[in-house]
Every structure is written in structure tokens, then in C-alpha cells.
């Protein structure tokens, strides 16, 4: 099962209510994924700082802060439940290795816009825990998980981010992820879980070095074997791809102000003016993208 949702705002009208819109979408997809939930929200920092999304796991915030301050001089901390957004002028090439050295925490995403929060539990609880309603931004992606091929943990939750401002949510299962993981590891990719979607995210990040998102997903049609509806996010927008068999559902609603996608229409039923939106299903094997 699993539920996936996403909103891309075409105008500024709903920027402040983006979190609230996504929150309702996630909660209504609880029946498709009660095990864990997560979301990525894109909102450029005013001071153009890099944002590093960290899940503290069992580590206390004070201990984390103390340890980080020893290694990185200029940082701001924004604590949100068991997650921390660390803001710094320092580039990922410097900060990411430092954060990856902390075995107790999980670095769940980083970039100039992206903030990722994900945790085990019912989507309605996860949304409340991180107070998703208060978030604003330009676009957002979310996921509710019904675990099938790997454990119910924070590291097994979506979205997966394996590159700057990149993230991926997935409804489905991949059958060639072990092989692909081995190949990508040889090329220097790192993985934190046994999850198939993390491999797809790694594949996309790796491919984005030479191609744009649309070309990457098109190539993915032949390299990724399995069932999937993907929503892949970047700093400027997102793209949607369904495998050619198209067993995994997706429906898109487009108005002049936003594009919304979800596994089922009921996740969008509350969106403003949705009844006058252009509603369609993405065709199998066709890449749909919004943003640059």
C-alpha cells in the first residue's frame, strides 16, 4: 500500500497555508500507511543559509548541541520535537561528513530549501508532533507508509533524501534494489537502510549529476525494475512517474494556483477549489514535472 501526496504552488496565494494543506492530505492517507509518515517542505531560508535536517533518535538535544558547537562554529538550531534543523553558512561538503560521523543521529536531508521530518507512528500523530500546520513554503511532498520490505524505523520512513534539496517518496516495491545498491555503492553512494526506495533516491541523485530530473526519471524506466509511483522533489519543483504497468495509483488535480498529487482523490477533497480543478491520472511511463 503506502500513500503519497504532494503540492506544488504555482502562485503565492497559498504559501502560508501549504503546511495545513499537506497535513490534511497526509492524515487522509492514514488508511494506506499507518506505520510511519514523513514530509519534505521546501522553503528558502531568508539569510540563504544551508539547512540540515537531523533526527536526534535517542540523543538529547543539549548533548547534540554541545558536540556540534565544538566542530562547527556558526550554527543556528531550530528544535522541533525529536528533529533539529541546523542552519549554517557552511556548505554540505563540510557539514555532511561531520554529521555523518555522529552514529547516534540520522541526517535525513539537507539543502538551501528542504526541511525533512519523518517518524514512526500514525500519520495523524506525526503531523501533530511536528506541527505541520504551521509550515509555509513553495512545494511539499509527503508519505504514509505501510511497511513491506524493511523494518518500521525512522530510517525506513520516507521521504528519502540522498542529495542537496533532493527527495523521493514511493508507493510500490522495487525488485532489483540489491543489485542497484551494490552498483551505486561502487560509485560512492552511501545508504543508511535496507530500504528499496532509498536505492531509487540514490539512483536519482547519482543520475542528476549528468541529467535533469525529467531525463533522469525517463532513464529510470529501464533501470528501476518493480512497481512504483514516485514523486521526486528538487529545490524548484517536483516530478511524478508511474511504472509502465501502473498498478500503483495516482491522481493529479491542477488549478491556476497549485498542482496536487495523491494516491487517492480523497486526500485532495478538502483542497481549495478542487471541484473545478483539472483532474487526471498520470499515464504509465510518462514523466510529469512542475517547476524548473
Amino acid at each position: 500500500m503506502c500513500g503519497i501526496v504532494g503540492i506544488y504552488l504555482k502562485s503565492k496565494k497559498f504559501e502560508k497555508s501549504l503546511g495545513g494543506m499537506l497535513s490534511k492530505m497526509l492524515v487522509s492517507m492514514e488508511s494506506r500507511g499507518p506505520d510511519s509518515a514523513g514530509f519534505a517542505i521546501y522553503n528558502r531560508d531568508k539569510n540563504k543559509l544551508f539547512k540540515y535536517s537531523v533526527c536526534l533518535n535517542e540523543m538529547s538535544f543539549d548533548r547534540f548541541k554541545k558536540k556540534i558547537k565544538k566542530k562547527i562554529k556558526f550554527t543556528k538550531f531550530e528544535k522541533n520535537s525529536d528533529h533539529v534543523i541546523l542552519k549554517s553558512i557552511e556548505k554540505p561538503s563540510k557539514i555532511v561528513p561531520i554529521l555523518e560521523d555522529f552514529t547516534e543521529i540520522s541526517l535525513v536531508g539537507y539543502g538551501k530549501s528542504i526541511e525533512i521530518f519523518k517518524q514512526v507512528g500514525k500519520p495523524s500523530n506525526v503531523v501533530k508532533k511536528f506541527d505541520l500546520n504551521k509550515f509555509s513554503g513553495s512545494h511539499a511532498i509527503g508519505h504514509t507508509r505501510m511497511a513491506t520490505e524493511s523494518a518500521i524505523t525512522t530510517d525506513g520512513s520516507h521521504p528519502y533524501s540522498t542529495g542537496e534539496d533532493e527527495c523521493l517518496v514511493h508507493n510500490g516495491s522495487l525488485s532489483n534494489h540489491n543489485n542497484l545498491r551494490r552498483k551505486l555503492k561502487k560509485n560512492g553512494s552511501k545508504f543508511n537502510s535496507d530500504n528499496d526506495t532509498e536505492v531509487a533516491a540514490g539512483y536519482i541523485s547519482n543520475s542528476l549529476k549528468d541529467r535533469n530530473l525529467k531525463q533522469t526519471l525517463k532513464k529510470g524506466l529501464s533501470d528501476l525494475d518493480g512497481f512504483y509511483t514516485f514523486i521526486a522533489g528538487t529545490h524548484s519543483g517536483f516530478a511524478v512517474l508511474r511504472d509502465e504497468i501502473a498498478c500503483k495509483p495516482a491522481v493529479i488535480a491542477e488549478t491556476k494556483d497549485y498542482v496536487a498529487i495523491s494516491s487517492e482523490f480523497q486526500a485532495m477533497a478538502h483542497l481549495p477549489n478542487v471541484n473545478s480543478a483539472k483532474i487526471f491520472e498520470p499515464e504509465p511511463g510518462v514523466v510529469y514535472s512542475w517547476g524548473k
Binding site: A246, E264, F265, Q266, A267, I279, E281, E283
Partner: protein
Amino acid sequence: MLLDLKKLKLRSVNEKLQNIDRKKNKRDFVISNPEGNHAVCAGLTDNIDVTIRGHVGYYCAGMNQNANITVEGNVGTGVAENMMSGSVHVKGNASQSAGATAHGGTLIIDGDTSSRCGISMKGIDIIVKGSVGHMSAFMAQSGNLVVFGDAGEALGDSLYETNIYVKGKVKSLGADCEEKKMNKQHKIKLKELLKKAGSNIKPEQFKRYGSARKLYNFHIDNVSNY
């Protein structure tokens, strides 16, 4: 009678429609605010008219017997699946597996359907005024599938005795599906179906596709496989 799904629970609405008081003779119902709910109007057995105002989720009008259901919006996966009799009219688009395994009745879709429309259909008449997606009429056993628009890949794969009529282009035919001659009896049947859908397009504008009967009948070339 107006049934508002914002105020009433889906289960109570379905229970009401499934247990019509025949003495009162109330036979017209309107459901408002369906908001993508699943299984709206599933399992109805009486000859009643129901109009659903808005988009619905999966398995709308599933297992329908006798009822006439109109959806003023889009429907999700499996609309009218396993329908036995009655009619379902969707004014928008339908998702996958529309009319799946249905034994009888009429399903009319004004828009398009996605993949596997009429999968394993067993006697239903499906009329799609738009186009159908890939693998439509997969393993279809009997009944009629009429498509005004185009059909996606592998139409009629592993087909039994369903008649498929397509006015537009067929991307590809599935295994054991072939174009067939349109005989007089087919034209008469198709005309009757088109009339049901309120269309005056001429039957001659359609092509008929059916089973080559090589897969499901004994064939001497396959003897070593048995």
C-alpha cells in the same frame, strides 16, 4: 431524498440504500459531498435511482443489482465491479478496472478510463465515450465493450467471447485478440448499445475485435504443452 456524506456516515448511507422500505416507495436519492469516499453505493439490490454529486473513490456501485446510479464526477478504481444488473453512468473519467468481472447491467462512462477497463468482464455492456487505457478487456469472457475514442496497448489480451468495438485507434492488440468482421447481428447489437448511451454515431464507424480462439480452445500445435 438528500443524503449528505458530510453529515452522515458512509456506512449508514449505504445501509439505508441497501435496505429500501418498499412500502414507502421512495426511489430517488441524491448523495452530496462524496469527497472521494470508497465503496459509495456498493451492494444495492433494489430498483432505485441514485445521483452522486461529486468525485468518488474505489469500488463505487460495486456488486450493483437493479439500481440506476449516476455519478456527477470522476470515479476511482473498480467502478461497478462485479455488477449483476442495473446501470451506472459516470459523467467524468474512471480510473482502472472499470466494470471488472461484472456479469450484467450497463456501465456508461462519458470521459476516459485508465488501464484494464472491463478486465475479466462476464456479460456487462461497457460504453466508454472517451478512450481506454492499456490491457482493457483483459481475459474478458462475455458482454460488450464499446470505445468511442482510442484503446491503449494490448487490447483484449487472452480474450474469450467478449465483443470489443473501437471507433478510434488501437495502440496494439493483446495475445489472441484480432480484428473481426462486423456482421449484421453485430451492427444491430452495437446500434442498440449506442442508443442506450444516447449516441447517434453509426455502427459502421466502429471496428470489431474478438478472440482468435487459439489460446483457450484446444489447438493441435499446442499438444505438447498439455
